[in-house]
């Protein structure tokens, strides 16, 4: 995980539903075991955390500013899920 956040897409303008769509699209395209990262707002963070954790993803969230969070998603491998 890089500390340079300038390369991470900022999705803080997206609505929660569109954010979910965008992340699902990125995760679908991402190679096995790779990380998908983005910057989101506080309310968006809440809508990512539970749904993605529940459906087989490792979700890591780090606060980078008052209302900006860095989200990292990675698909758990099948052994971790089971």
């Amino acid at each position: 995980m890089s500390d340079d956040i300038s390369t991470i897409p900022d999705f803080s303008d997206l609505t929660c539903t569109n954010l979910m769509i965008r992340l699902k699209m990125l995760l679908k395209k991402a190679p096995e075991g790779s990380l998908v990262e983005c910057i989101v707002r506080r309310d968006q963070r809440d809508t990512i955390d539970v749904p993605f954790s529940r459906t087989g993803y490792d979700v890591k969230i780090r606060k980078i500013d008052t209302n900006r969070f860095r989200v990292s998603l990675k698909k758990k491998n099948s052994r971790e899920v089971s």
């Binding site: 539903t17 569109n18 699902k24 309310d43 809508t47 749904p51 529940r54 459906t55």
Partner: protein, 414 residues
């Protein structure tokens, strides 16, 4: 009495009426053949088809008239026409009425003002789904006023709900957010903004709840949101007072309650199982009615298909069992290989569909007769979208998904 109903307001072509007819046949022949064995003369309606607006033209169009005759030959089917809209359009349904006088209703119940009200008839059926009274009726509105007469129908529907002492919710989505713009001054049309403010005041006077929520994404796109608190609440200086701009999640949260939600073109299918109460409290969130969204329009040309898909995903994320059926022109979202311009902010619908397939509480289907009618095939990469024929469509409509304890299923056409 069972009370499945369809409500159609926009123009109905033979394709739409065709699948309605096929679904009804499936219901009576495959699921309830006992209804075919006896005289239907003294039975109450199992299916009510409410027709208003341009849908009424299908009653005298030769292409659809024959389908209506087949539908009316089925037992326990009633058509309730909006008498004012019939008169406005100069449509005669005498031919159908001559053959089926008890099944084609052209005289509506009287409202408190003494005038016939189609919406009073709709409300009578709509509120049978929950108890205790006073109940709640929701309206999902998708179209702009003045361009579409459906906004006038919305006002009539909300007023009719208040007349039967039901609280009302309005969910403005897509172009539906325009009904809440302030300063509307139509010269040849009922003022929708003022009408909504009057509904809000009338509800308050009667001690009924009335909330009007507009989708924040749709409002922002159309220039309404002037201040956003970043937590789902946006405040606009150009909406009428009753309208609250809220995140779609907050609107979808209302869908978890057990009330009827009406839209321009929608249906409500009862899901009563053996031993289950016929009615539940409107606040019973454990019994969220499953949601079926029919995507009937081309992708890209309008926001309709994407809007339907977004709503479905939001509902599924809130734990509402949701199924999306691509049907009629909606199947074009699944055909060919779609490639939006690389720099375009537009979502690639096929990528969206592929990405969201497999989401909890969400199932995606393609109605194959619509593909066949257009000589198209589904993109083979969309493996998460299951092909269905009319019998599977019927099963999806009339059987509740596993584990669902709701008493009805909401069907909304986009």
């Amino acid at each position: 009495m069972s009370s499945h109903f369809f409500l159609f307001n926009e123009s109905m072509n033979s394709e739409r009426l065709g699948w309605v007819e096929q679904c009804l046949k499936f219901f009576f022949i495959k699921l309830h053949p006992e209804n075919l064995l006896h005289s239907t003369k003294n039975r109450q309606a199992v299916f009510t088809l409410f027709l208003s607006g341009d849908a009424l033209h299908s009653l005298h169009n030769p292409e659809t008239l024959s389908l209506w005759e087949v539908i009316l030959s089925l037992p326990c089917v009633t058509i309730v026409c909006d008498s004012q809209e019939l008169a406005l359009r100069g449509i005669s349904v005498e031919r159908l009425r001559m053959k089926n006088p008890d099944q084609v209703i052209i005289h509506n119940s009287l409202a408190l003002n003494g005038r016939p009200s189609f919406w009073k008839d709709v409300m009578k059926l709509a509120r049978q789904h929950e108890q205790p009274v006073p109940s709640l009726v929701g309206f999902l509105h998708l179209t702009s006023p003045y361009m579409n007469r459906s906004s006038a129908a919305l006002l009539e529907g909300m007023n009719a709900a208040l007349e039967i002492h039901a609280s009302v919710d309005l969910y403005c989505y897509l172009d539906g957010v325009h009904v809440g713009h302030d300063g509307q001054k139509p010269t040849e049309f009922e003022n929708i903004g003022e009408g909504l403010e009057a509904v809000f005041e009338k509800a308050a006077k009667r001690g009924l709840s009335c909330q009007m929520l507009a989708c924040a994404r749709c409002a922002a796109a159309r220039g309404y949101s002037t201040w956003d608190d970043g937590k789902g609440t946006a405040i606009s200086s150009c909406t009428i007072k009753p309208i609250k701009i809220r995140n779609l999640n907050e609107i979808i949260d209302q869908f978890r309650r057990n009330h009827i939600i009406l839209s321009d073109n929608c249906a409500s299918i009862q899901l009563k199982k053996e031993g289950m109460q016929a009615t539940f409290s409107v606040l019973d969130r454990e019994r969220s009615p499953p949601l079926t969204i029919l995507i009937t329009r081309h992708p890209y040309g309008t926001e309709s298909a994407f809007g339907g898909l977004s709503l479905a995903l939001a509902a599924a994320a809130h734990g509402v069992p949701t199924q999306v059926i691509f049907i009629e022109d909606g199947i074009y979202a699944l055909t060919g290989t779609q490639i939006p311009d690389a720099g375009s902010p537009l979502f690639n619908m096929q990528e969206v569909i592929d990405a969201i397939s497999g989401t909890d509480n969400l199932q995606l289907f393609c109605f194959t007769p619509s593909l066949q009618k257009r000589g198209m095939t589904k993109n083979q990469k969309l493996t998460g979208v299951l092909n269905i024929s009319i019998s599977e469509f019927g099963n999806l409509l009339f059987y509740s998904p596993n584990g669902v304890a709701a008493n009805h299923q909401r069907v909304i056409l986009f």
